[in-house]
């Protein structure tokens, strides 16, 4: 399906169209952060605190209010979008790569290799994923790249399992058998037949995976083992201000809404993509 048609079909649902707008907006804000952010995200404004030293609620100068150190919340949110998206892309990219590699190998080679690889995913499924991620991040002295790596280590399993069953389904179709009889090498079958057919599945899981990644990063940062201040991330903004959240609820509300909105958008687009790209689902639901 051509890309413009795909986008047009996706936009038939209003919620998906809105989600796409949200995603594009967040990406633009993150890329253009130095130009669109109204203030320096790390500048501690003297006038950003009340006389008693409390953070300011939303006002004309600081549109979404200020945090405990008198920094502009809106600017920190805009720079925080960079963090979320970088981790979303890097962690999810690694997870998709490992997951696809394991899934394709296991599904294509079958036999011993396949069995061992799939038992490995069974093993990973028995781990309390978040607990493992938190423990690893805490021990490894978190940085943005460690966080991305930890998230990828937890998230590849789901991808591997889906790609595995999809690979088996495709490999048993007639056109693969025909290719084999025509003398195509395994290599050729893998790269010019199997992978192109896997692409829709991978695309769907890549989209859904960004949502999982954004949530996981936010949770790790909220627990203080994710992205470390002063680098702003939506999760650590809440982490920094959690003790004051009853008196300064905007410090939890706005970053919280940002996280939910972005994760929700990727979920909705991923779900619509699945409906669109998987013909077997057409006409159902």
């Amino acid at each position: 399906m051509a890309f413009p048609t795909l986008i047009r079909n996706l936009c038939r649902h209003k919620s998906v169209a809105v989600s796409l707008v949200v995603i594009v907006t967040v990406v633009c804000l993150a890329v253009l952060a130095p130009w669109v952010a109204p203030h320096d995200p790390n500048m501690q404004y003297f006038e950003g605190l009340t006389m008693e030293g409390a953070p300011l609620p939303p006002n004309e100068k600081f549109l979404l209010g200020t945090d405990l150190l008198g920094r502009d919340l809106l600017s920190r949110l805009i720079y925080g979008a960079q963090t979320s998206l970088i981790i979303g892309v890097v962690a999810n990219g690694i997870a998709i790569f490992i997951g696809t590699l394991v899934g394709v190998c296991a599904g294509f080679l079958r036999g011993w290799t396949g069995a061992v690889l799939m038992r490995l995913t069974d093993l990973m499924m028995a781990f309390p994923a978040l607990l493992l991620a938190i423990a690893l991040a805490a021990i490894l002295q978190p940085s943005i790249w460690i966080v991305a790596l930890v998230i990828a280590m937890v998230n590849w399993v789901q991808v591997a399992r889906v790609v595995y069953s999809e690979t088996i389904a495709i490999a048993s179709r007639e056109f693969i058998a025909v290719e084999r009889t025509l003398g195509a090498s395994s290599f050729r079958i893998l790269f010019s037949h199997l992978l192109p057919h896997l692409l829709p599945t991978i695309l769907v899981w890549a989209t859904l995976g960004i949502s999982t990644t954004v949530l996981l990063e936010a949770t790790l940062s909220f627990l203080g083992v994710g992205v470390q201040p002063p680098t702003p991330s939506w999760g650590n903004i809440i982490f920094e201000s959690q003790t004051y959240f009853t008196s300064a609820v905007w410090l939890v509300l706005f970053p919280g809404l940002s996280i939910v909105l972005l994760a929700l958008s990727f979920n909705l687009v991923g779900d619509a993509l699945r409906d669109e790209l998987d013909p077997s689902l057409k006409g159902r639901g």
Binding site: L131, I134, I259
Partner: protein, 308 residues
């Protein structure tokens, strides 16, 4: 059946062995030096070496893992670096609150998820259906910590319906359990909706209707029991995610359970406790999956045991 059960049990043991190995590798081997951490900054090289020998950290890797495993099999999870007590004692003291919270949380998850999924399927392609499905997506897109904090702010601080946190009475468990239930219910309601739509199109449902059964009887006797089958393995898969949610929700609500214990241990890099909680969670996940796999063929005789 007995052969299948034995095979599955054997497999479960293998999985747990694998989990113990990876956990050990990641948590005891990667961190720089537990002995140095334990000794503190000002300790001399001698003291550190002593502690290292005491903990058996000077042995070769396979021997260390073997010792750890034999202890594990005897229920000995080691001693906490910080609290100077047996890890197993710490875990036992936290088990009850966690099981309580889990039971309530999963119940809410199922009650909310199944009833909303049913409603959506019955009102398929209407505004109600679309609203409920959008809601389920919001649920699964919200991290536990945000929901916990906002619920706490709204229902405990502002409306004063619930206590701010703590443990003991039923009202204490309600808000954290509802948080877990509301967020987790999204997957269930989507699953129930789609499986119910499939069941509603079956011939036997048309037959049931044609022979004049009441709507309620068709729904609860014929549709629901069939539509609910895919939910069973989902509970098994969900346990792992649920335990992750527990860590966060327990920390925010001050619930004295395993999640909070794990979180405190993580903050102080108290590795034996982290490993202990991870192992206990893995056992819970494996058992839950095993039970779910055994229950599915009981609920649906068409699914044979050996195929899975």
């Amino acid at each position: 059946m007995p052969i299948y059960l034995l095979r599955r049990l054997g497999y479960a043991v293998l999985i747990l062995l694998g989990v113990s190995f990876i956990t050990y590798l990641l948590l005891y081997m990667i961190p720089a030096d537990p002995a140095r951490q334990l000794a503190g900054r000002s300790a001399t090289a001698d003291t550190v070496a002593n502690i290292r020998a005491q903990l058996g950290l000077d042995l070769p890797f396979y021997q260390q893992y073997f010792n750890y495993l034999t202890n594990l099999l005897q229920g000995d999870l080691g001693r906490s670096y910080i609290q100077r007590t047996e890890v197993s004692t710490l875990i036992m003291s936290r088990l009850r609150p966690t099981i309580e919270l889990m039971a309530w949380g999963i119940s809410f998850e199922l009650i909310i998820g199944v009833s909303l999924g049913m409603l959506a399927a019955l009102k398929r392609n209407t505004a109600i259906d679309r609203f409920l499905m959008a809601l389920s997506f919001v649920g699964v897109s919200s991290p536990h910590f945000i929901a916990s904090m906002l619920f706490l702010y709204l229902f405990a601080v502002n409306l004063d319906w619930f206590p701010l946190g703590g443990y003991g009475e039923f009202q204490h468990v309600l808000l954290p359990a509802l948080t877990l239930g509301l967020l987790g219910s999204g997957w269930y309601s989507r699953m129930v909706r789609s499986s119910m739509i499939e069941v509603l199109q079956q011939d036997y449902i048309r037959t049931a209707r044609a022979k004049g059964l009441t709507r309620a009887r068709v729904l609860f006797r014929h549709v629901l029991p069939n539509a609910i089958i895919p939910v069973i393995p989902m509970i098994g898969i969900d346990i792992g995610i649920f335990i992750g949610g527990l860590v966060v929700v327990e920390s925010v609500f001050g619930w004295p359970g395993l999640g909070q214990l794990a979180w405190q241990a993580i903050q102080r890099v108290d590795i034996p406790v982290i490993v202990g909680v991870t192992m206990v969670s893995a056992v819970a996940i494996v058992i839950a999956n095993l039970i779910a796999d055994l229950l599915v063929p009981l609920a649906d005789p068409r699914i044979a045991l050996d195929k899975s």
